[in-house]
Amino acid sequence: MNKRISDMMDELSEEIEVAETELFDASRVSARTMAKLHAEKKSVFPRRRVLRTALIAAVMTCLIAAMAIAASAGDARGIVEGIRSIFGGAEVYTPGEGEIYVDTGPNGYDMPPIARHDVGIILHYEVAKETHPVVYKVNWLPGQTNWSNPLDTWVEDRFNYPYLTYNRSWIEEESPADREGYIAALGLPEEEWKDWNAGYLCRSIGGKGIQFYVDVLSGAWLYERDMVIGQYGGEGKVEREWTDGDYSCIELTMDYTVSDNPGVRNLGVCHYLLLFNEKDGYLVEIAGTIDVAELEKIAENMEFHVTGITQRAAEAPEDVWYHGLIDVGVG
Protein backbone atom coordinates (compact mmCIF):
# COMPACT_ATOMS: atom_id res chain seq x y z
CA MET A 1 0.00 0.00 0.00
CA ASN A 2 1.03 3.55 -0.48
CA LYS A 3 1.18 5.50 2.71
CA ARG A 4 1.78 9.17 3.05
CA ILE A 5 4.18 10.56 5.58
CA SER A 6 1.50 13.14 6.35
CA ASP A 7 -0.94 10.34 7.26
CA MET A 8 1.65 8.63 9.40
CA MET A 9 2.13 11.89 11.24
CA ASP A 10 -1.56 11.87 12.09
CA GLU A 11 -0.99 8.74 14.13
CA LEU A 12 1.35 10.71 16.36
CA SER A 13 -1.14 13.53 16.85
CA GLU A 14 -1.14 13.44 20.62
CA GLU A 15 2.63 13.57 20.75
CA ILE A 16 3.09 16.58 18.52
CA GLU A 17 3.98 19.61 20.61
CA VAL A 18 1.61 22.44 19.88
CA ALA A 19 1.93 26.00 21.19
CA GLU A 20 -1.58 26.89 22.30
CA THR A 21 -3.15 30.03 20.93
CA GLU A 22 -5.53 32.61 22.35
CA LEU A 23 -6.57 33.59 18.87
CA PHE A 24 -10.03 32.10 19.23
CA ASP A 25 -12.85 33.02 21.56
CA ALA A 26 -13.95 29.80 23.23
CA SER A 27 -17.40 31.20 24.02
CA ARG A 28 -18.03 31.85 20.33
CA VAL A 29 -16.80 28.37 19.41
CA SER A 30 -19.05 26.97 22.13
CA ALA A 31 -22.07 28.90 20.86
CA ARG A 32 -21.52 27.62 17.32
CA THR A 33 -21.06 24.07 18.51
CA MET A 34 -24.19 24.13 20.64
CA ALA A 35 -26.23 25.58 17.79
CA LYS A 36 -25.16 22.71 15.55
CA LEU A 37 -25.70 20.21 18.29
CA HIS A 38 -29.25 21.27 18.88
CA ALA A 39 -29.96 21.34 15.17
CA GLU A 40 -28.86 17.79 14.62
CA LYS A 41 -30.67 14.69 15.57
CA LYS A 42 -28.31 12.15 16.91
CA SER A 43 -28.90 8.75 15.37
CA VAL A 44 -28.50 5.71 17.49
CA PHE A 45 -28.14 2.18 16.24
CA PRO A 46 -30.30 -0.37 18.00
CA ARG A 47 -28.74 -3.49 19.41
CA ARG A 48 -29.54 -7.03 18.59
CA ARG A 49 -28.29 -10.22 20.06
CA VAL A 50 -28.08 -13.48 18.23
CA LEU A 51 -28.42 -16.45 20.54
CA ARG A 52 -26.04 -19.32 20.52
CA THR A 53 -27.13 -22.31 18.55
CA ALA A 54 -26.63 -26.00 18.85
CA LEU A 55 -23.95 -27.99 17.11
CA ILE A 56 -25.13 -30.35 14.43
CA ALA A 57 -22.27 -32.30 12.99
CA ALA A 58 -23.74 -33.35 9.73
CA VAL A 59 -22.80 -33.13 6.13
CA MET A 60 -25.01 -30.69 4.42
CA THR A 61 -25.29 -28.94 1.15
CA CYS A 62 -27.12 -25.71 1.01
CA LEU A 63 -27.98 -23.54 -1.91
CA ILE A 64 -28.62 -19.95 -1.07
CA ALA A 65 -31.36 -18.97 -3.42
CA ALA A 66 -33.85 -16.18 -3.23
CA MET A 67 -33.24 -14.48 0.05
CA ALA A 68 -36.19 -12.80 1.62
CA ILE A 69 -38.14 -12.15 4.78
CA ALA A 70 -37.01 -9.36 6.99
CA ALA A 71 -35.84 -10.10 10.46
CA SER A 72 -35.34 -7.69 13.29
CA ALA A 73 -33.27 -4.68 12.55
CA GLY A 74 -30.11 -3.87 14.21
CA ASP A 75 -26.53 -3.53 14.83
CA ALA A 76 -24.67 -2.20 17.71
CA ARG A 77 -21.37 -0.85 18.55
CA GLY A 78 -18.99 -1.27 21.33
CA ILE A 79 -16.31 -3.56 22.56
CA VAL A 80 -17.36 -4.76 25.94
CA GLU A 81 -15.08 -4.88 28.92
CA GLY A 82 -13.35 -8.02 30.03
CA ILE A 83 -12.91 -9.93 26.80
CA ARG A 84 -9.75 -11.80 26.02
CA SER A 85 -9.19 -12.90 22.49
CA ILE A 86 -6.66 -13.43 19.80
CA PHE A 87 -5.99 -10.98 17.07
CA GLY A 88 -3.17 -11.11 14.59
CA GLY A 89 -1.43 -13.78 16.58
CA ALA A 90 -1.35 -11.68 19.72
CA GLU A 91 -3.48 -11.89 22.78
CA VAL A 92 -5.91 -9.05 23.09
CA TYR A 93 -7.61 -7.69 26.19
CA THR A 94 -10.44 -5.26 26.47
CA PRO A 95 -9.68 -3.51 29.75
CA GLY A 96 -12.70 -1.28 29.36
CA GLU A 97 -15.51 -0.53 27.02
CA GLY A 98 -14.12 0.54 23.68
CA GLU A 99 -10.57 -0.22 24.77
CA ILE A 100 -8.31 -2.80 23.19
CA TYR A 101 -4.88 -3.71 24.43
CA VAL A 102 -2.72 -5.89 22.22
CA ASP A 103 -0.37 -7.95 24.32
CA THR A 104 2.65 -8.77 22.22
CA GLY A 105 4.93 -9.04 25.22
CA PRO A 106 7.26 -6.15 25.91
CA ASN A 107 5.96 -4.27 22.88
CA GLY A 108 2.30 -4.52 23.81
CA TYR A 109 0.27 -1.48 23.01
CA ASP A 110 -3.14 0.11 23.11
CA MET A 111 -4.93 0.02 19.81
CA PRO A 112 -5.85 3.46 18.56
CA PRO A 113 -9.09 4.90 19.90
CA ILE A 114 -11.81 2.73 18.54
CA ALA A 115 -13.14 5.58 16.47
CA ARG A 116 -9.96 5.38 14.45
CA HIS A 117 -9.79 1.65 14.39
CA ASP A 118 -9.21 0.06 11.04
CA VAL A 119 -12.08 -2.29 11.51
CA GLY A 120 -15.58 -2.19 10.21
CA ILE A 121 -17.28 -4.85 12.16
CA ILE A 122 -16.42 -7.02 15.08
CA LEU A 123 -18.05 -10.37 15.46
CA HIS A 124 -17.88 -12.34 18.65
CA TYR A 125 -17.67 -16.09 18.51
CA GLU A 126 -17.72 -18.70 21.12
CA VAL A 127 -14.88 -21.13 20.93
CA ALA A 128 -16.10 -24.49 19.72
CA LYS A 129 -14.42 -27.72 20.68
CA GLU A 130 -15.25 -29.52 17.48
CA THR A 131 -15.86 -28.10 14.09
CA HIS A 132 -16.32 -29.12 10.51
CA PRO A 133 -14.69 -27.15 7.69
CA VAL A 134 -17.09 -25.60 5.24
CA VAL A 135 -16.37 -25.58 1.55
CA TYR A 136 -18.22 -23.83 -1.20
CA LYS A 137 -18.78 -23.43 -4.89
CA VAL A 138 -18.93 -20.07 -6.57
CA ASN A 139 -21.12 -20.61 -9.56
CA TRP A 140 -21.25 -17.02 -10.72
CA LEU A 141 -18.82 -14.13 -10.54
CA PRO A 142 -18.89 -10.63 -12.01
CA GLY A 143 -17.88 -10.67 -15.62
CA GLN A 144 -15.74 -7.58 -15.85
CA THR A 145 -12.56 -9.30 -14.78
CA ASN A 146 -10.87 -12.52 -15.72
CA TRP A 147 -11.19 -14.70 -12.70
CA SER A 148 -8.68 -17.38 -12.09
CA ASN A 149 -9.91 -20.89 -11.56
CA PRO A 150 -11.87 -20.71 -8.33
CA LEU A 151 -10.69 -24.17 -7.48
CA ASP A 152 -7.14 -22.96 -7.19
CA THR A 153 -7.04 -22.64 -3.49
CA TRP A 154 -4.33 -22.21 -0.96
CA VAL A 155 -4.62 -21.84 2.72
CA GLU A 156 -3.19 -19.58 5.29
CA ASP A 157 -4.21 -19.40 8.87
CA ARG A 158 -3.98 -15.68 9.00
CA PHE A 159 -4.72 -15.41 12.68
CA ASN A 160 -2.62 -18.31 13.82
CA TYR A 161 -5.28 -18.84 16.39
CA PRO A 162 -4.31 -21.58 18.78
CA TYR A 163 -7.68 -22.35 20.25
CA LEU A 164 -9.94 -22.60 17.25
CA THR A 165 -9.91 -24.95 14.38
CA TYR A 166 -9.99 -22.25 11.86
CA ASN A 167 -9.74 -22.51 8.13
CA ARG A 168 -9.39 -19.76 5.70
CA SER A 169 -7.93 -19.70 2.27
CA TRP A 170 -8.10 -17.46 -0.67
CA ILE A 171 -7.57 -17.16 -4.34
CA GLU A 172 -5.75 -14.30 -5.89
CA GLU A 173 -5.25 -13.32 -9.44
CA GLU A 174 -1.49 -13.56 -9.37
CA SER A 175 -0.98 -16.23 -6.76
CA PRO A 176 -0.24 -19.75 -7.87
CA ALA A 177 -2.39 -22.14 -5.92
CA ASP A 178 -1.30 -24.81 -3.53
CA ARG A 179 -4.52 -26.70 -3.49
CA GLU A 180 -2.82 -29.99 -2.81
CA GLY A 181 -1.21 -28.55 0.28
CA TYR A 182 -4.53 -27.44 1.62
CA ILE A 183 -6.16 -30.74 0.88
CA ALA A 184 -3.36 -32.47 2.69
CA ALA A 185 -3.71 -30.11 5.63
CA LEU A 186 -7.39 -30.81 5.90
CA GLY A 187 -7.01 -34.50 5.47
CA LEU A 188 -9.73 -34.49 2.83
CA PRO A 189 -9.48 -37.02 0.01
CA GLU A 190 -8.78 -35.22 -3.23
CA GLU A 191 -11.69 -36.81 -5.02
CA GLU A 192 -14.01 -35.30 -2.45
CA TRP A 193 -12.36 -31.96 -2.79
CA LYS A 194 -12.15 -31.34 -6.46
CA ASP A 195 -15.44 -29.49 -6.84
CA TRP A 196 -15.29 -27.29 -3.80
CA ASN A 197 -13.46 -24.27 -2.45
CA ALA A 198 -12.58 -23.57 1.09
CA GLY A 199 -12.37 -20.10 2.22
CA TYR A 200 -11.32 -16.86 0.97
CA LEU A 201 -11.77 -15.59 -2.52
CA CYS A 202 -10.59 -12.10 -3.07
CA ARG A 203 -9.98 -9.83 -5.95
CA SER A 204 -9.52 -6.20 -6.71
CA ILE A 205 -12.40 -4.92 -8.75
CA GLY A 206 -12.11 -2.08 -11.17
CA GLY A 207 -8.78 -0.98 -9.84
CA LYS A 208 -10.24 -0.09 -6.45
CA GLY A 209 -8.04 -0.67 -3.47
CA ILE A 210 -10.67 -2.58 -1.59
CA GLN A 211 -11.01 -6.24 -2.30
CA PHE A 212 -13.94 -8.24 -3.29
CA TYR A 213 -13.91 -11.41 -1.32
CA VAL A 214 -15.90 -14.35 -0.18
CA ASP A 215 -14.87 -15.48 3.24
CA VAL A 216 -16.21 -18.51 5.01
CA LEU A 217 -15.42 -18.71 8.68
CA SER A 218 -16.03 -22.00 10.30
CA GLY A 219 -14.83 -23.45 13.52
CA ALA A 220 -16.83 -21.38 15.88
CA TRP A 221 -20.41 -20.82 16.67
CA LEU A 222 -21.82 -17.40 16.54
CA TYR A 223 -22.55 -16.46 20.08
CA GLU A 224 -23.22 -12.81 20.06
CA ARG A 225 -23.00 -10.33 17.32
CA ASP A 226 -21.73 -6.95 18.30
CA MET A 227 -20.94 -4.72 15.43
CA VAL A 228 -18.74 -1.75 15.45
CA ILE A 229 -20.10 0.34 12.68
CA GLY A 230 -18.49 3.39 11.29
CA GLN A 231 -15.02 2.94 12.65
CA TYR A 232 -12.02 4.75 11.31
CA GLY A 233 -14.34 7.53 10.34
CA GLY A 234 -16.44 5.44 8.01
CA GLU A 235 -20.19 5.45 8.37
CA GLY A 236 -21.90 2.11 8.51
CA LYS A 237 -25.49 1.37 7.83
CA VAL A 238 -27.45 -1.83 8.08
CA GLU A 239 -29.46 -1.79 4.90
CA ARG A 240 -31.58 -4.79 5.71
CA GLU A 241 -31.72 -8.02 7.64
CA TRP A 242 -33.58 -11.12 6.77
CA THR A 243 -33.58 -14.87 7.24
CA ASP A 244 -33.54 -17.61 4.68
CA GLY A 245 -33.77 -21.12 6.03
CA ASP A 246 -30.84 -21.58 8.39
CA TYR A 247 -29.24 -18.31 7.35
CA SER A 248 -29.45 -15.04 9.16
CA CYS A 249 -28.54 -12.45 6.54
CA ILE A 250 -27.39 -8.87 6.86
CA GLU A 251 -26.63 -6.34 4.19
CA LEU A 252 -24.37 -3.49 5.25
CA THR A 253 -22.98 -0.46 3.56
CA MET A 254 -19.79 1.13 4.81
CA ASP A 255 -19.16 4.62 3.51
CA TYR A 256 -15.47 5.34 3.93
CA THR A 257 -15.63 8.61 2.05
CA VAL A 258 -16.40 10.38 5.32
CA SER A 259 -13.37 8.91 7.06
CA ASP A 260 -10.94 11.11 8.94
CA ASN A 261 -8.16 9.19 7.28
CA PRO A 262 -7.38 10.14 3.68
CA GLY A 263 -6.16 6.62 2.90
CA VAL A 264 -9.43 5.12 4.07
CA ARG A 265 -11.48 7.79 2.32
CA ASN A 266 -10.17 6.52 -0.99
CA LEU A 267 -11.89 3.20 -0.43
CA GLY A 268 -15.22 4.73 -1.31
CA VAL A 269 -18.36 2.82 -0.46
CA CYS A 270 -18.21 -0.88 0.31
CA HIS A 271 -21.10 -3.31 0.51
CA TYR A 272 -21.12 -6.35 2.74
CA LEU A 273 -23.35 -9.38 2.74
CA LEU A 274 -23.02 -11.41 5.92
CA LEU A 275 -24.72 -14.78 5.93
CA PHE A 276 -24.70 -16.57 9.26
CA ASN A 277 -25.59 -20.21 9.32
CA GLU A 278 -26.59 -20.51 12.93
CA LYS A 279 -27.44 -24.19 12.63
CA ASP A 280 -23.99 -25.25 11.54
CA GLY A 281 -22.00 -22.39 12.91
CA TYR A 282 -20.35 -20.58 10.09
CA LEU A 283 -20.32 -17.19 8.55
CA VAL A 284 -20.11 -16.34 4.89
CA GLU A 285 -18.90 -12.86 4.19
CA ILE A 286 -19.14 -11.41 0.72
CA ALA A 287 -17.90 -7.89 0.35
CA GLY A 288 -16.66 -5.41 -2.15
CA THR A 289 -17.03 -2.08 -3.81
CA ILE A 290 -18.96 -3.67 -6.63
CA ASP A 291 -22.68 -3.14 -6.95
CA VAL A 292 -24.68 -4.77 -4.20
CA ALA A 293 -26.87 -6.47 -6.81
CA GLU A 294 -23.75 -8.29 -8.03
CA LEU A 295 -22.87 -9.32 -4.49
CA GLU A 296 -26.38 -10.66 -4.06
CA LYS A 297 -26.13 -12.56 -7.32
CA ILE A 298 -22.88 -14.14 -6.16
CA ALA A 299 -24.59 -15.16 -2.91
CA GLU A 300 -27.66 -16.51 -4.66
CA ASN A 301 -25.49 -18.75 -6.82
CA MET A 302 -23.21 -20.07 -4.11
CA GLU A 303 -23.40 -23.54 -2.64
CA PHE A 304 -22.02 -24.54 0.74
CA HIS A 305 -21.04 -27.90 2.03
CA VAL A 306 -20.20 -28.73 5.62
CA THR A 307 -17.65 -31.48 5.41
CA GLY A 308 -17.69 -34.61 7.48
CA ILE A 309 -14.20 -33.83 8.70
CA THR A 310 -13.99 -33.26 12.41
CA GLN A 311 -11.43 -30.81 13.67
CA ARG A 312 -10.84 -30.44 17.35
CA ALA A 313 -9.75 -27.25 18.98
CA ALA A 314 -6.98 -27.12 21.47
CA GLU A 315 -8.01 -26.53 25.05
CA ALA A 316 -9.14 -22.97 25.35
CA PRO A 317 -9.67 -20.94 28.48
CA GLU A 318 -13.35 -20.33 28.91
CA ASP A 319 -13.00 -16.58 28.92
CA VAL A 320 -11.20 -16.39 25.61
CA TRP A 321 -13.41 -15.42 22.73
CA TYR A 322 -12.61 -15.00 19.15
CA HIS A 323 -13.09 -11.63 17.55
CA GLY A 324 -13.70 -12.02 13.88
CA LEU A 325 -12.42 -8.80 12.49
CA ILE A 326 -13.81 -7.92 9.16
CA ASP A 327 -11.01 -5.95 7.69
CA VAL A 328 -11.51 -3.87 4.62
CA GLY A 329 -8.27 -4.41 2.82
CA VAL A 330 -7.06 -0.86 3.12
CA GLY A 331 -4.57 0.10 0.51
Partner: protein, 185 residues
Protein backbone atom coordinates in the same frame (compact mmCIF):
# COMPACT_ATOMS: atom_id res chain seq x y z
CA UNK B 1 -17.73 15.63 48.82
CA UNK B 2 -17.97 16.33 45.10
CA UNK B 3 -16.31 14.08 42.57
CA UNK B 4 -12.99 15.45 41.25
CA UNK B 5 -13.27 17.10 37.84
CA UNK B 6 -11.02 14.82 35.84
CA UNK B 7 -10.80 14.10 32.14
CA UNK B 8 -12.40 10.76 32.89
CA UNK B 9 -15.33 12.37 34.67
CA UNK B 10 -15.80 14.86 31.84
CA UNK B 11 -15.83 12.12 29.23
CA UNK B 12 -18.30 10.20 31.36
CA UNK B 13 -20.44 13.35 31.53
CA UNK B 14 -20.28 13.72 27.74
CA UNK B 15 -21.44 10.15 27.37
CA UNK B 16 -24.39 10.93 29.60
CA UNK B 17 -25.28 13.79 27.29
CA UNK B 18 -24.20 16.57 29.63
CA UNK B 19 -23.89 19.69 27.49
CA UNK B 20 -22.18 21.62 30.28
CA UNK B 21 -19.34 19.14 30.16
CA UNK B 22 -18.97 19.81 26.45
CA UNK B 23 -18.88 23.56 27.08
CA UNK B 24 -16.16 23.07 29.70
CA UNK B 25 -14.11 21.00 27.31
CA UNK B 26 -14.52 23.61 24.59
CA UNK B 27 -13.20 26.28 26.97
CA UNK B 28 -10.30 24.07 27.99
CA UNK B 29 -9.25 22.84 24.60
CA UNK B 30 -10.04 25.68 22.19
CA UNK B 31 -6.50 27.11 22.58
CA UNK B 32 -5.01 23.69 21.79
CA UNK B 33 -7.32 22.61 18.96
CA UNK B 34 -7.28 26.17 17.66
CA UNK B 35 -3.49 26.08 17.36
CA UNK B 36 -3.68 22.93 15.26
CA UNK B 37 -6.44 24.25 13.04
CA UNK B 38 -4.72 27.61 12.60
CA UNK B 39 -1.39 25.93 11.98
CA UNK B 40 -3.01 24.36 8.94
CA UNK B 41 -5.46 26.95 7.65
CA UNK B 42 -3.79 30.14 8.88
CA UNK B 43 -3.08 32.52 6.03
CA UNK B 44 -5.35 30.53 3.71
CA UNK B 45 -8.75 30.72 5.40
CA UNK B 46 -10.26 33.33 7.71
CA UNK B 47 -10.48 33.20 11.48
CA UNK B 48 -14.23 32.83 11.10
CA UNK B 49 -13.64 29.77 8.92
CA UNK B 50 -11.32 28.41 11.59
CA UNK B 51 -13.97 28.89 14.27
CA UNK B 52 -16.42 26.99 12.11
CA UNK B 53 -13.91 24.16 11.83
CA UNK B 54 -13.40 24.18 15.60
CA UNK B 55 -17.13 23.90 16.21
CA UNK B 56 -17.16 20.86 13.90
CA UNK B 57 -14.29 19.38 15.90
CA UNK B 58 -16.15 19.68 19.19
CA UNK B 59 -19.38 18.44 17.65
CA UNK B 60 -17.47 15.33 16.54
CA UNK B 61 -16.14 14.96 20.07
CA UNK B 62 -19.70 15.05 21.38
CA UNK B 63 -20.91 12.46 18.91
CA UNK B 64 -18.02 10.11 19.54
CA UNK B 65 -17.77 10.49 23.29
CA UNK B 66 -18.38 6.81 23.86
CA UNK B 67 -15.32 5.93 21.81
CA UNK B 68 -12.83 8.14 23.62
CA UNK B 69 -10.66 6.66 26.32
CA UNK B 70 -9.68 8.72 29.32
CA UNK B 71 -6.14 9.93 28.77
CA UNK B 72 -6.59 9.92 25.01
CA UNK B 73 -8.83 12.95 24.68
CA UNK B 74 -6.13 15.38 23.64
CA UNK B 75 -4.82 13.05 20.96
CA UNK B 76 -8.32 12.46 19.67
CA UNK B 77 -9.01 16.18 19.50
CA UNK B 78 -5.71 16.78 17.72
CA UNK B 79 -6.48 14.17 15.13
CA UNK B 80 -9.99 15.46 14.47
CA UNK B 81 -8.81 19.09 14.39
CA UNK B 82 -6.15 18.25 11.85
CA UNK B 83 -8.52 16.21 9.73
CA UNK B 84 -11.27 18.83 9.72
CA UNK B 85 -8.82 21.61 8.92
CA UNK B 86 -7.35 19.69 5.99
CA UNK B 87 -10.85 18.90 4.72
CA UNK B 88 -11.74 22.59 4.86
CA UNK B 89 -8.59 23.47 2.96
CA UNK B 90 -9.40 20.98 0.24
CA UNK B 91 -12.96 22.24 -0.03
CA UNK B 92 -11.62 25.75 -0.49
CA UNK B 93 -9.67 24.54 -3.51
CA UNK B 94 -6.32 24.73 -1.77
CA UNK B 95 -3.91 22.04 -2.90
CA UNK B 96 -1.58 20.39 -0.43
CA UNK B 97 1.88 20.47 -1.92
CA UNK B 98 3.91 18.09 0.16
CA UNK B 99 7.39 17.01 -0.78
CA UNK B 100 7.56 13.35 -1.94
CA UNK B 101 4.94 12.34 0.56
CA UNK B 102 4.28 8.73 -0.45
CA UNK B 103 6.00 5.66 0.90
CA UNK B 104 5.07 2.21 -0.38
CA UNK B 105 4.35 -0.14 2.50
CA UNK B 106 3.08 -3.71 2.58
CA UNK B 107 -0.63 -4.23 2.00
CA UNK B 108 -2.97 -3.89 4.91
CA UNK B 109 -4.32 -7.01 6.52
CA UNK B 110 -5.40 -8.02 10.01
CA UNK B 111 -1.76 -7.93 11.05
CA UNK B 112 -1.73 -4.31 10.13
CA UNK B 113 -2.51 -3.15 13.65
CA UNK B 114 0.81 -4.54 14.74
CA UNK B 115 2.48 -2.95 11.77
CA UNK B 116 1.01 0.42 12.62
CA UNK B 117 2.39 0.27 16.13
CA UNK B 118 5.84 -0.48 14.79
CA UNK B 119 5.39 2.23 12.21
CA UNK B 120 4.54 4.75 14.92
CA UNK B 121 7.55 3.71 16.94
CA UNK B 122 9.87 4.17 13.98
CA UNK B 123 8.37 7.53 13.09
CA UNK B 124 8.61 8.69 16.71
CA UNK B 125 12.24 7.59 16.85
CA UNK B 126 13.04 9.34 13.60
CA UNK B 127 11.42 12.57 14.76
CA UNK B 128 13.19 12.49 18.10
CA UNK B 129 16.53 12.16 16.35
CA UNK B 130 16.01 15.09 14.02
CA UNK B 131 17.98 18.15 15.13
CA UNK B 132 16.44 21.61 15.12
CA UNK B 133 15.33 23.26 12.93
CA UNK B 134 14.90 20.06 10.87
CA UNK B 135 12.42 18.69 13.43
CA UNK B 136 10.27 21.82 13.34
CA UNK B 137 10.37 21.92 9.55
CA UNK B 138 9.35 18.26 9.30
CA UNK B 139 6.42 18.81 11.69
CA UNK B 140 5.31 22.01 9.96
CA UNK B 141 5.40 20.35 6.56
CA UNK B 142 4.06 16.85 7.19
CA UNK B 143 1.80 17.49 10.18
CA UNK B 144 0.54 21.01 9.55
CA UNK B 145 0.92 20.55 5.79
CA UNK B 146 2.53 23.95 5.40
CA UNK B 147 4.17 24.63 2.06
CA UNK B 148 7.93 24.95 1.92
CA UNK B 149 7.63 28.63 0.99
CA UNK B 150 5.44 29.29 4.03
CA UNK B 151 7.89 27.52 6.30
CA UNK B 152 10.81 29.36 4.79
CA UNK B 153 9.08 32.69 5.37
CA UNK B 154 8.10 31.81 8.95
CA UNK B 155 11.60 30.65 9.87
CA UNK B 156 13.39 33.26 7.79
CA UNK B 157 15.15 30.67 5.70
CA UNK B 158 15.77 29.94 2.06
CA UNK B 159 13.18 27.63 0.41
CA UNK B 160 15.97 25.41 -0.88
CA UNK B 161 17.30 25.00 2.64
CA UNK B 162 13.86 23.95 3.85
CA UNK B 163 13.59 21.43 1.02
CA UNK B 164 17.05 20.06 1.78
CA UNK B 165 16.20 19.60 5.45
CA UNK B 166 12.94 17.86 4.55
CA UNK B 167 14.81 15.56 2.24
CA UNK B 168 17.21 14.73 5.06
CA UNK B 169 14.27 13.95 7.36
CA UNK B 170 12.66 11.73 4.75
CA UNK B 171 15.89 9.88 4.23
CA UNK B 172 16.15 9.19 7.97
CA UNK B 173 12.58 7.92 7.99
CA UNK B 174 13.30 5.69 4.99
CA UNK B 175 16.33 4.26 6.75
CA UNK B 176 14.36 3.66 9.93
CA UNK B 177 11.60 1.88 7.98
CA UNK B 178 14.16 -0.20 6.13
CA UNK B 179 15.79 -1.22 9.40
CA UNK B 180 12.33 -2.14 10.64
CA UNK B 181 11.90 -4.43 7.66
CA UNK B 182 9.57 -2.24 5.64
CA UNK B 183 9.61 -1.90 1.93
CA UNK B 184 9.78 1.61 0.68
CA UNK B 185 10.32 3.60 -2.44
Amino acid sequence: MSKPDTEESRIAALRRGDEQALEQLIRQYTPYAGAIVWGIVGGKLTRDDAEEILSDVFLTLWKNADRIRPGKLKGYLASIARSRALDALRRSGETLELEEDVLALPDADPERQLTQAEERRLLRKTLSELPEPDHTIFIRHYYFCQKTAEIAAALDMNVNTVQTKLKRGREKLRLALAEGGYEHE
